[in-house]
Symmetry: C2
Subunit: 229 residues, 2 copies
Amino acid sequence: MSVPLSLLALLSQGPAYGARIKADFEERTGRAFPLNVGQVYTTLARLERDGLVVADGGPDDEGRIPYRLTDAGRAEVGTWWERPVDRTEPARDELVMKLALAVATPDVDAHAVIQHQRTAAMAHLQRLTRAKLALSAPGSPPQTEPVPTPTSLSDEVVLEHRLYAVESELRWLDHVEGLLLHRRAPQSAPAPSVTLPSAASATAAPSAARPAPDPSTPISRPAAPDTRH
Amino acid sequence: MSVPLSLLALLSQGPAYGARIKADFEERTGRAFPLNVGQVYTTLARLERDGLVVADGGPDDEGRIPYRLTDAGRAEVGTWWERPVDRTEPARDELVMKLALAVATPDVDAHAVIQHQRTAAMAHLQRLTRAKLALSAPGSPPQTEPVPTPTSLSDEVVLEHRLYAVESELRWLDHVEGLLLHRRAPQSAPAPSVTLPSAASATAAPSAARPAPDPSTPISRPAAPDTRH
DNA sequence: GAAAGACGGTATACCGAGTATGTATGCCGT
DNA sequence: ACGGCATACATACTCGGTATACCGTCTTTC
């Protein structure tokens, strides 16, 4: 759903042929999203069908077929940059479905599911952290690099996103575990006064990158694995 | 990619026919993931083809065709609950691609992209918060509900996930903005000592739902929209 | 100096997810 | 009895994604 727009965005920098577009795309997204060449051609075909792109003449003497944006295509890119991506509908995330099903299904130990996911997430977090360190210091010893941008900004952008995502996922898992404990033993307080963890703080001061301490779940857990690389 | 497994999970509670499965699925995932009926049937067909499920005899007197798990299917569900969902590869998220492209493309004002996304995210956060409040107190005044579980746990699980996700996204946007400022004016500190926002704290004490204050980006931003009710 | 093969580029076939639409049937209410 | 509606099943289609086939050129190697 985002690949077509990405291709348009790349073409807005000038005409290019399929393989070059693929290379550019991967380069500019931190090589985090390997793009199958086939997809590039089928997508280009669809874009051409929709009048957003045109083949700029037949194959040149080296067999390449450059494509360029039409005016409609250029407009499309423009609005893409302006319009925020839609987050209003929930994103069919496997983990969310799985956990929602788990807590709603008898015979399933939701706690165990959470535990498994959590240890995996922590391992993943470790991996990402290591990657980040490697990113900031590519050649191990020298930090006196003459190049001011030794690593691409794109790399960092996607890496950071993954870091924030795992971290958030961990907190969410903790929170759900807390919910489970409450529900299982709704001791004296039947009313679901469910702590409003992030929401309260975030709405109170959403402009600052305010954390969401979740006081309701001081769940004990296996010790953190060795953290340094 | 997760719907087939979900259907198997539902069938593990006993045989059911297509439409019933759809209803169950939506019920147990907080009605956040509307599932097209057609998809249920095609998925069931594939599952039957793969031997994970069998039609339990022809249509009954009301035209329904119940399916039940095979042993292989049951095993599949078992391993699904045990195996954490894979987060090792980056999840083709439109926003991530878009922003990675934006920062790597001249002629594109990445700051503006971030701004647009941020205001949208804040509006969304507000909406979710409102939904959460409505969830905890469905009938407005009385909190003396006799029912201990007036709202389904599944609802809460997916709602909370969305809250954590937006919040994390906001922090990430802030962080990227910080990166942009650094890169644009790499004043006296050329070495990218990039603050390790979440990673450091999360690995230091991952068991507590520890927040990840990002001290590097005290970016000013438009005031928070009205937050209450 | 030609066969073999690596390489770069294009194109097609295939699968699964997801959506829209069609069709049969039973149950109403008038 | 008939129109309308709900229920359940089924098919057709689009799109994202992967694998693979194909074709020309350049290089290697005997």
